[in-house]
């Protein structure tokens, strides 16, 4: 943003490629996918294995009941919102070399994020992960075999790639 609204295309920080089964994969894409899986497992562990995660899950079910136990629910919700925002920022940073850096790059992901959150279920990292991955795969396969359809998806979902939604859990 300090550079203005002009898009700044960036090269990937890891410019190497890997050959696998006759196909070439950029290492950076694989790294993004690995980070998404690590984040997903970390969130699962957080929600199921820590007191804070259990409080948040319980408060989502019955906020007043948890409040009656003397827990300051709003504080935990604030922490979760900040955690979600930080993960969104991480997704944006990782997406920057794939796309280009400009102030409006988040808008195009927003509708996709709503769509995959709605399909996966709110407060369910596993459902969100699966829905994000399947949505990304549908878009990638459509782009591969039916480019006109991918263009249509690009118009309605603002044309984003497979791995990105999986990052923004």
């Amino acid at each position: 943003m300090g550079l203005g609204v002009n898009p700044l295309p960036l090269s990937a920080p890891l410019g190497t490629y890997v050959e696998f089964w006759g196909m070439t994969f950029p290492v950076y894409r694989i790294l993004i996918f690995a980070i998404a899986i690590v984040l997903f497992l970390g969130l699962e562990l957080f929600f199921k294995g820590t007191i804070m995660g259990k409080i948040v899950v319980a408060a989502l079910e019955d906020k007043d009941g948890v409040r009656c136990l003397g827990v300051r629910v709003d504080k935990y919700f604030s922490i979760m919102f900040i955690l979600g925002s930080a993960l969104a920022a991480l997704g944006g940073v990782l997406y920057a070399p794939i796309s280009a850096v400009h102030p409006y790059m988040g808008l195009s992901v927003l509708l996709l994020a709503f769509a995959r959150g709605d399909r996966g279920g709110y407060g369910k990292p596993a459902g969100t992960f699966i829905s994000a991955f399947s949505l990304g795969m549908v878009m990638a396969i459509t782009a591969r075999y039916w480019s006109q359809g991918a263009e249509t998806i690009g118009v309605h979902c603002n044309g984003h790639r497979a791995v990105l939604p999986a990052i923004d859990i």
Binding site: M1, G4, V5, P7, L8, P9, L10, S11, A12, P13, L14, K63, D74, F77, S78, F81, I82, G84, S85, A86, A88, A89, L90, G92, V93, L94, P97, I98, S99, A100, H102, P103, Y104, M105, G106, L107, L110, F114, Y122, A143, S147, A150, E151, G154, G159, H160, R161
Partner: protein, 112 residues
């Protein structure tokens, strides 16, 4: 009259002539305009002038971006989202979208 007609014809051809001469410039302009959109066709167009990324700057920038989001998200949660916890989830979505649009409009207002 004939002279006038000829002049009109030449005047009509003139913009076309300039248009054909300006085609390379227009193509470069389109290439610059298409760069932010990352579908395959456009990526191929703008792959020629990618800004080389310094890894030493990328990772601190990533950490800085995540840290910079924390106070902003706290303010948004404290003063906007928290008021909507008792309401339907749709209101939270609408509020999130509204904040995003306000941010984008602020960027447009400041940087054009």
């Amino acid at each position: 009259m004939l002279l006038t007609d000829f002049l009109r014809i030449f005047h009509r051809r003139d913009p076309l002539f300039h248009f054909h001469r300006a085609l390379p410039d227009l193509r470069n302009h389109a290439r610059r305009q298409l760069c932010p959109y990352p579908d395959l066709q456009h990526r191929r167009l703008c792959s020629n002038h990618l800004h080389p990324l310094d890894e030493r700057k990328f990772y601190p920038a990533a950490i800085l971006a995540i840290l910079a989001v924390i106070p902003v998200s706290y303010v948004i949660e404290r003063y906007v989202i928290r008021r909507l916890y008792g309401e339907s989830l749709d209101y939270t979505f609408i509020a999130t979208f509204a904040i995003t649009l306000m941010g984008v409009d602020t960027i447009k207002w400041v940087w054009g």
